[in-house]
Amino acid sequence: MADLATNFNGIQSPNPFWLASGPPTNCGEQVMRAFDAGWGGAVWKTLGVPVVNVSSRLAAVDYSGNKMSGLNNIELITDRPLEANFKEIYAVKKRYPNHAVIVSLMMESKAEWKEIIQRAEDAGADGLELNFGCPHGMCERGMGSSVGQEPKVLELITSWVMEYATTPVLVKLTPNTGDILVPGLAAVEGGADGISLINTIKSVIGVDLNTLVPLPNVGGQSTNGGYCGPAVKPIALYMLSALAREPKINIPISGIGGIATWQDAAEFLALGATSIQVCTAVMHYGYRIVEDLIDGLSNYLDDQGMKSVTELIGRAARNIKDWGDLDLNYGVVPKIDAETCIGCQLCYIACLDGGHQCIHTRQNPCQAFHGESDHGANPRLEPAPPVMHKPDGKVHENVPFIDENECVGCNLCSLVCPVPGCITMVEIPHTRGKESWNERVAKGLG
């Protein structure tokens, strides 16, 4: 079995799976149960000047009958006394010396930061995470994402913390920013030992159409919250990869954002994360999901012949390029397997209305493009009369077929096809060599 042990710039944990700061790390007995279940680390619910929270606090997006594909919260940092939190951190570390306990912090003045860092480290914290990401409630008080959105302030506060901290310090970034590299570089400038991202995305998750009160409802009113859960994963993957590709970001990154399965975790690792943080999936299903996270990741690493999880880190990040460096001469076309096609016509209608009109149907008058293939170079001024294609004789009339000349190789048909393996995208061989947009520009071709 591959070695999952993780060293995050000095923070050791038996595996890369940490609980993210949030309701699952609200108190000591929770974190103990999480460690018993197999979690390698926990980022404690953010400590600061304790707040008063509202009710209700959460609302979710369900998609096609699946619950909680996205979650929104308006809960703030801890609303429990600091003393209780520190006692629990001490107890957890005493019982679980080999697990990572990172304490999330949020303060205003330098003096306050100094004091809380001291108390967290005295309680036994293995590391600190600076919450510069919370996009609701706290930012209006000059903390959370209002820090993350101001690179100079972010850098300054980070440098204060670095003066006092003796344990590794992670800066947690907000995605609510124009270019994630700016706060990322500011964290490095401030001397941070690591970065974690993403925090939640500023959001209004929905409206109760019966009462016309947006969600979550707090006495007939609502406010903007922070969006997380499976729906935000692609945004997190982008921001992670952008930081991972930047040579000046030379500190490890803890990946957060919609991770629910071992595949998600493997993707974050491959795009450059050294540890993984999970919150929403645990809020949905409980700590027990870590069993499959560990098991699935181990099996994957074994299948890939990787002896350690560190071998996976960043392996896919190197394959992300700027668009201008992609090969314009590379091409794929779909192949429809007539044997397994069930005739749902979803590829036909998707290509017709949302693609390039190059998938044809035989079972009814076909509205795809029937002219000389020109990829839209000539104006198409009105819908062309449908064509009734003759039966092929070999395949069933409900199997669509592809005009490979007109096809642009966009993948849409293979994405909508409900039959596994029925539509495959096949590379078109060519002898033109590689040519990117940037190369064309360099040659003056444009």
Binding site: S64, G65, I342, G343, C344, Q345, L346, Y348, I349, P418
Partner: protein
């Protein structure tokens, strides 16, 4: 206009359980979300009324229940009963692409039942009708019979602003929906509730009126702009063998009717064995009903083989699970009264000519029903089997302004075929008057207007 129809609760059919109960909201949403929303979907083509099935299912998934039901009703105004009585395994669900993917096909009938049930409940709750009846177009249509074909034709005409009167010889409207559907699919009172709902949209039903000397089809043709013939089939036919008139020899549809609507009708306690003669769905229906009502031995005696029998395979499978036996290649020869008062049915093997005696308390004939359209309409073209000949698209008969649909034109098919006939006849009438239908879908799958 006229009273709501209802039934006595003391009916034998009420003792049978619903085989496919109403979905809960969460069950319906889960099932609706499974639908792939095929384009040009095979389920639509498999539906005789051409309901835009993916569209109504998507509307269930999105929570647009009124819209879902309206999508159904525009193509099939008897959406409530057909959701229950349609052999979906042979039609829409049988055509579902999931069958090719070795997945369970979408349970279209149950989803349709859910949508219609919820929408009609909302209609009652909010008092807001699903349909807006078109302004009067000053046309009159008489419909003969008040079974599914006439109800469908009459309802669409009423929705288009046509004055309609249905003449029904029985005391209750609904035709086979009330008298003939296997109770584990659909109870008579639900069928009457559907009729009561249609009446709100302007259907005028006159029950206990028989076409004959007092009221003839030519009278109706003279007084109306068109007449629709939806008279179904007549009494059960018998094979013409000695002894078929003995006591305890029944016609299948007559017996089913008693189970469904005859208050206080009971099976005798000592009814031990019943032999059914026939191989169609009526034979299987009565066999299943008797078996489910507790008759210990029920045999179906069929003159040909299982492979060619017209009854549906899935129904025969259910019957067998309920203990019914199928005896193949048995041609009935005669019935005799046995010494102990029971009956002996003598059959001859189709190939070997070997004779078999089937002892039974009851014998039920399920070999067909009489056709009588030609008897009540002089000069009407019927085919060699007595079925009314109609134009495929318009359901026009050989008699000017006389349209026909349902079992009297097809010899006995599904309720959904009758509904399709009714709608297409209504559509053709409206178009023939130079008018544009507003509440009636044009042809299978067409839901473009409105």
């Amino acid at each position: 206009m006229n009273r709501d129809y209802s039934l006595n609760d003391n009916r034998l059919e009420t003792r049978l359980e619903d085989a496919k109960p109403l979905y809960s909201e969460s069950e319906a949403k889960i099932e609706a979300n499974r639908c792939l929303y095929c384009f040009d979907a095979p389920c639509i083509k498999a539906c005789p009324t051409g309901i835009d099935i993916p569209a109504f299912i998507r509307k269930i998934a999105s929570g647009n229940i009124r819209g879902s039901a309206k999508t159904i009703f525009r193509s099939n105004i008897l959406g409530a009963s057909t959701a229950r009585v349609c052999p979906v395994e042979e039609l829409c669900s049988g055509a579902c692409v999931y069958n090719d993917l070795d997945h369970k096909p979408i349970q279209i009938g149950r989803l349709q039942r859910f949508a219609v049930h919820q929408a009609l409940a909302l209609e009652r709750e909010h008092g807001r009708p699903l349909f807006t009846v078109a302004p009067p177009v000053h046309k009159k249509v008489a419909l003969i019979g008040a079974g599914p074909a006439s109800l469908s034709c009459g309802a669409y005409l009423a929705l288009e602003g046509v004055a309609t009167i249905l003449y029904e010889k029985s005391d209750l409207p609904g035709g086979l929906n009330v008298t003939g559907i296997a109770p584990y699919k659909f109870m008579a009172e639900d069928a009457l509730n559907e009729v009561n709902w249609l009446k709100k949209y302007g259907l005028d039903i006159r029950t206990g009126v028989e076409i004959g000397d007092e009221l003839t089809v030519s009278d109706l043709l003279k007084e109306n702009d068109a007449v629709f013939l939806g008279i179904g089939l007549g009494q059960d036919t018998f094979p013409g063998i000695p002894g078929e008139d003995l006591e305890h020899v029944f016609g299948a549809t007559a017996l089913i009717r008693r189970i469904k609507e005859d208050p206080g009708f009971e099976l005798p306690d000592d009814l031990h064995k019943v032999v059914i003669v026939g191989g169609g769905n009526t034979a299987i229906d009565i066999a299943r009903e008797l078996a489910l009502l507790g008759v210990p031995e029920v045999d179906i005696v069929y003159r040909r083989t299982e492979a060619v029998m017209p009854g549906y395979r899935h129904e025969l499978n259910h019957a067998r699970e309920e203990g019914v036996r199928l005896l193949e290649k048995q041609t009935p020869v005669r019935i005799e009264k046995a010494a102990d008062g029971t009956l002996d049915l003598f059959t001859e093997h189709t190939d070997t000519k070997e004779s078999t005696v089937h002892h039974a308390d009851w014998i039920v004939m399920a070999i067909g029903q009489k056709k009588f359209a030609a008897d009540i309409v002089p000069g009407l073209d019927v085919d060699e089997k007595g079925r009314v000949v109609v134009d495929e698209t318009t359901r026009r008969t050989s008699v000017p302004n006389l349209y026909a649909g349902g079992d009297c034109i097809n010899g006995g098919k599904e309720v959904v075929n009758a509904v399709a006939d009714g709608r297409e006849a209504a559509y053709a009438m409206i178009k023939s008057w130079g008018l544009q239908p507003v509440n009636t879908a044009e042809k299978p799958g067409s839901n473009s207007h409105g």
